[in-house]
Symmetry: D2
Subunit: 99 residues, 4 copies
Amino acid sequence: MKVIIDLCVVPMGVGVSVGKYVAECQKVLQDAGLEYQVHAYGTNIEGDWDEVFAAVKRCHERVHAMGAPRITTSIKVGTRTDREQSMQDKIDSVTETLA
Amino acid sequence: MKVIIDLCVVPMGVGVSVGKYVAECQKVLQDAGLEYQVHAYGTNIEGDWDEVFAAVKRCHERVHAMGAPRITTSIKVGTRTDREQSMQDKIDSVTETLA
Amino acid sequence: MKVIIDLCVVPMGVGVSVGKYVAECQKVLQDAGLEYQVHAYGTNIEGDWDEVFAAVKRCHERVHAMGAPRITTSIKVGTRTDREQSMQDKIDSVTETLA
Amino acid sequence: MKVIIDLCVVPMGVGVSVGKYVAECQKVLQDAGLEYQVHAYGTNIEGDWDEVFAAVKRCHERVHAMGAPRITTSIKVGTRTDREQSMQDKIDSVTETLA
């Protein structure tokens, strides 16, 4: 099953600056060979369900290993059976309607 | 890794009444033997990371099989390494502070 | 416009124990006279759109005033024009389907 | 109070294709003169708390007016008192750590 998710990992108990933890999660996604796109409040990721969620789990493991005692993460998860749709398709669908 | 999640599955393309799809997800959680608590805008689930996310995947599969062509799901995911904490502990922590 | 929201306020930069900040948000909701229900990963709130979002803003103000330098909050927001529905109606709809 | 939010409006009861509703929300943000950035699973918006949330409310009103009987929206809301931070600052913080 193909999935598009939006991932926002929030480490707690490590102060207000969490950029290095988010950067580590980018490395996890790169190592996993997943397609992803960073935005100001999370990261869009596209791929096979199992591979995507394995990467999400690894993000939690890695961020804990870096010293964060607590993590709260928000995920939006989209699947569809009617047709294939990529992250870019979703953006194009809105842009074309506006044009 | 132990996890507490909050799950909200939204089937699209099946009209406004989605109670039967949400009910089907409850059955998935029951069959998985997971501890869970329904609220007005989602379901709290507690358990081992892999078992919990296997159940989330099965919810998507089941809701698609029931006829929903598209699903958008919101998940909050909490893990911590500093101490054990159950769903009830989290509620108690707030209640005791208020008392 | 009537709204049902699910609110999860996460103070950052104040350590791992955030129960007292969540408790303060409960007081804000009580003072606002809003109907709400706490669960393990947030709080369901029901009421008029403007009153509910005024309370959400006050939660941010209050939590910052308590010393949290950064807050990241998740909100789910439900509105409908086809019929009235309370938080309890939503839970009943699922429970009745299961019965 | 300055805020950065991530907004994802999901109209229900109008089928699987929701691009035109999302496009309408972009127009609301443009008309409000707010800074925003579309991604594949939502829209980042930056501005004064009251202006941003007035726009979110208008999105719900407009999408209902277009015929959607039910809407479920996800919002992430970030505020901080320690320093100014724009949407671009957040992305730069991660990119620089990776470099």
